[in-house]
Symmetry: C2
Subunit: 167 residues, 2 copies
């Protein structure tokens, strides 16, 4: 099983680290992709090494795309390579999990219209404009898509992701 | 399954949060105990609510004691109630997991003499003085005791903890 995390500086630390450690615990391989290879730094100061640049990523090589929140998605959504990665996951019906501000990338990629999803409260307004069937729930599963609102939702977010990957 | 986390201000955020979320994902109940009930704040600024004071804890009600690192253990080891909790877990042979500076509490409680364990590099010298058979490994399992060195060890630390709890 192979997971791709797409993020950038100012990621929400716990939303990247807790899933990352969880996947490694399970024995999954994890790549972290950002604008360029190298260190990215979270809002709370944690440093993570992005071992791939967005341009090096072959989306077909992964079983899950994970999008942590924080301020990173606002930067990531401006990258055409990131939008293309998200679109390839959706086109193949492969699992995509986004938490907090993470769904912003999927909105910009035009992938959420008519889909059931949740997100951080500050993102709700733009989600609705994008045609998302927003729900205020700790986790929403709609087909290949798993979304959650905030760090305190990580336990149920991960529970649903692991369920989906084990199917 | 019920887990007790003992910590205090200046805990290493990821070493408390990642296991905490992991246990909740698994459906385990988790209590967090500190000097007094109320908010504790990690080195990186994360806030966690300690729902128990050390004096309210009945150690026999738990299946695992988890000790995160950071600067918290240096404060916790000065609390007789915390030492007593650790001794009760060891007396009953119940699982105890400590990471980074977490083993400092167990050293002060006099529980590690002759035991195999690891810890954060800054703690190695006092471990050896305390008679610990120190190993520089990502995780060391010795009977009821699981120890790891640092945040990057969390995946294997949690893997061994979950294995022990499922037995």
């Amino acid at each position: 099983m192979k997971v791709l995390i797409v993020s950038a500086d100012n990621f929400e630390d716990s939303e990247l680290l807790a899933p990352y450690y969880r996947f490694l615990e399970e024995g999954y391989a994890v790549d972290i992709a950002s604008m360029t290879r190298g260190k990215i730094i979270g809002k709370h100061g944690y440093e993570v090494y992005a071992n791939k640049s967005l341009h090096d990523v072959d989306p077909d090589g992964y079983d899950l795309l994970l999008l942590p929140g924080g301020k990173a998605p606002e930067a990531i959504r401006k990258q055409p390579a990131a939008l293309e990665i998200a679109r390839r996951f959706f086109a193949a019906g492969r699992p995509v999990a986004a938490i907090c501000h993470g769904p912003q990338l999927l909105i910009t990629a035009g992938l959420l219209n008519g889909r059931r999803a949740t997100c951080y409260k500050a993102v709700v307004a733009e989600m609705k404009v994008a045609g998302v069937l927003y729900e205020d729930a700790e986790v929403v599963v709609d087909g290949n898509l798993v979304t959650s609102r905030q760090p305190s939702d990580i336990p149920v977010f991960m529970r649903e992701i692991m369920k989906m990957l084990r199917r």
